[in-house]
């Protein structure tokens, strides 16, 4: 019936700041950055993986009225919007150290779990990001 997840969405407060973070710091690539007039369609991807894009959507009109967009921004900054991205990595320690050197602040430091090694952080807006190196058993 279905074959894959092609595009997922998270909310961001500012798309330029989102680019600085997701591309400049995390090292993702821009998939599409297009001015549609009514919105800026901005998607990013893991380098070389255009089949799985993440839409970085700014809440606002015309899709949301200003009052509703304010509520979304408030929930987002409280960490309550539920936006989460789970990335897999071959070397979680290297990912952690590379990002740490770029000044990224981690909410979860490098930890061995039952399912593998992982670490986590928040984007500048309140979404949670996780990097996991799955153990072969997991």
């Amino acid at each position: 019936m279905f074959t894959s997840i092609n595009i997922s969405q998270i909310y961001v407060l500012d798309q330029d700041e989102a680019l600085d973070f997701y591309v400049g710091k995390l090292g993702l690539e821009v998939n599409t950055d297009a001015d549609l007039g009514f919105m800026r369609w901005l998607t990013v991807q893991v380098p070389g993986r255009p089949d799985r894009a993440i839409l970085l959507e700014k809440p606002g009109p015309p899709r949301l009225d200003e009052a509703t967009a304010d509520q979304v921004r408030e929930l987002l900054t409280k960490g309550a919007m539920g936006g989460s991205l789970f990335f897999t990595t071959d070397d979680c320690r290297k990912t952690y150290e590379t990002l740490l050197a770029k000044g990224v602040e981690f909410t979860d430091e490098l930890t061995e779990r039952d399912y593998g090694t992982d670490c986590g952080l928040r984007d500048p807006f309140g979404n949670s990001i996780r990097f996991t190196q799955l153990s072969s058993a997991g």
Binding site: L13, E74, T77, K78, G79, F86, T107, D108, P124, R130
Partner: protein, 130 residues
């Protein structure tokens, strides 16, 4: 006005994240207020307005949640787990655990092992109410 609320929310979230990360450390209000870039005097009030409970209660329930997790996923003693999640006295741990969970740590442990889900979701959903 709204920008100010968002900025405050984000700072309070940073302090809450620090409790989720460093719950085993002796975190106090001045240290958390510094992480949130607000004065210690304002911190408790603003945190409560943002998340609906005091930072002390948040941290207590985070420590109890981690203890609940460990009780059902390893075989270390109750005393070891108590220290591991940041309590300094077994008496306080047992009393707080019972008050929040409704049963003793040993009784809770008898419920058996937990299924595996990503830790961040387990931590977000299994922190008990109270």
């Amino acid at each position: 006005m709204n920008r100010a609320v968002e900025e405050t929310n984000r700072r309070m979230l940073r302090a809450r994240d620090a409790m989720d990360r460093d719950y085993a450390e002796p975190l106090d209000v001045p240290a958390l207020a510094q992480i949130a870039h607000v004065s210690p005097r304002h911190f408790i009030r603003v945190f409560r307005a943002t998340f609906g409970e005091t930072p002390h209660r948040y941290l207590q329930r985070r420590r109890v949640e981690r203890a609940m997790f460990l009780l059902r996923s390893c075989d270390r003693s109750v005393t070891e787990i108590c220290m591991e999640v940041g309590f300094t006295s077994l008496g306080t741990f047992s009393r707080t655990f019972r008050e929040i969970v409704g049963e003793s740590p040993s009784d809770y442990r008898r419920r058996g092992p937990l299924p595996e889900v990503p830790t961040c979701f387990a931590m977000a959903w299994m922190r008990p109410r109270g």
